[in-house]
Amino acid sequence: MSEYINIFNVILRRDLILAFRDKTDFINSLFFFIIVITLFPLSFGTKSTIVNEIIPGMIWISALLATCLTLETIFRSDFEDGSIEQLTLSRYPLTLLVSAKIFAHWITFGIPLIIISLLMGILLSLSNEIIMALFITLILGTPILSLLGSVMVALTIGLRGGMLLNLLILPLSMPVLIFSTVAIQNAASNQSMIAEVYFLAGILVLTITLAPLATAAALRIRLS
């Protein structure tokens, strides 16, 4: 058991170091995220009623699009230099190794994304309840996006273009978007959002259990 925890940590540390050394991808997509968010007040105006109604949903859509941009980095460099084959051949379960990589992706991209959206929320003078709801839904929702996305990346890695990846991931991530925005709207009108949060948490648990298995299966298919 401790051996498995060890190998999980090794892969996690390796991916974090790699991401830290080659920051451009992540920084670029975070900039993309910030720029997209600033587009909304520019086009809708800054009346507080409009901002409170529209901006939380817009932050969520921008987070979804920005995540789609970075998903490929989970496996791209490993696929190009061949180390993904080594992972597949190793005597440890591929599911475990893959989940370490997904976790690393969430740490390097999900957490900065959450922090930035909270800061943007404050800058756009959202109300405190909305910022709180935004925080909760993002912290439950972004791991789901990383997990679902990793399966699609494993299926499409090395194929032409990233467009296909977006076509596959966007319809599947609609439930996350719906539950999150409904939760935020409930919080904005001072209603309970506990039901949506439970739903998001349930989807998160489901994807944590199934997505690494599916990713490992998809990688084996791609490399066969």
Partner: protein
């Protein structure tokens, strides 16, 4: 039983079976289609509220049912091809996807045509409509993934993984959308009170459902046979058939 499945999975056996099967299925399809259309368009009485416009359900409802059914076929044959590596199920999944997408599109477009006189608008962001639209996106994603691979076998297995994820996701999508639309619109005006349908309207509907299903089976069999011929073009039995 197990032996039978393997025998059924062999391309030559499937080819022979499907040849004699598709004759009968086509006959059933044509008979049901003509009698269903006649019963639906001529014999069934006009609805007391909707008049003659209701008759579009004889196309709309079977198409909507088939759109879900074919996605289940995709996922089931995907599971079969992942577990038992049966070639035929790969082919069936591949040829089913465009048919399923067309049924989904048919259901959406007939719904829009019906919606204009009934609801006064072509499109409403109602739960069922939205999840049907997302289903269309899922079909298109599946087809895009299939066409991105050069190797058909890898394409089939990758598609199988995608279809299985999709089938887990469909109930989640459906309930999330239902949740979203009920919270947004309140009690929707668009839902019809469902009176229990009179049997003169019901029987043509059942005939049309059978006709749509057998039409699907016929087209899948034809396309599967042509794919088998392409796939096995070097084997001796195919050369014998094509030689004649």
């Amino acid at each position: 039983m197990y032996k039978w499945i393997h025998q059924f999975g062999s391309p030559k056996y499937f080819y022979d079976i499907s040849l004699c099967l598709s004759k009968w299925v086509t006959i059933v399809c044509i008979v049901c289609f003509i009698s269903g259309l006649y019963g639906g368009l001529v014999l069934a009485p006009a609805d007391y509220q909707q008049g003659d416009s209701f008759r579009i359900i004889y196309v709309h409802v079977p198409a909507a049912w088939m759109s879900l059914f074919i996605y289940i076929v995709l996922a089931a044959s995907g599971a079969i091809s992942l577990i038992w590596h049966i070639k035929i199920s790969d082919i069936i999944a591949r040829v089913s996807a465009p048919i399923g997408a067309s049924y989904t599109f048919l259901a959406l477009s007939t719904g829009a045509i019906w919606g204009k006189p009934m609801w006064g608008t072509y499109w409403v962001w109602d739960a069922r409509l939205t999840s049907e639209l997302i289903l269309l996106f899922l079909y298109l994603g599946y087809m895009a993934l299939q066409s991105a691979f050069d190797d058909k076998r890898i394409a089939a297995r990758a598609g199988a993984v995608l279809a299985l994820i999709g089938i887990i996701n469909i109930p989640i999508i459906h309930y999330s959308v239902e949740w979203w639309s009920t919270l947004h619109q309140g009690p929707t005006i668009t839902k019809l009170d469902k009176p229990s349908i009179h049997f003169t309207m019901l029987i043509p509907l059942i005939l049309m459902v059978i006709a749509f299903k057998t039409f699907y089976i016929t087209t899948v069999l034809i396309k599967t046979r042509s794919e088998i011929l392409k796939y096995e073009c070097n084997s001796s039995w195919v050369k014998k058939i094509l030689g004649n």
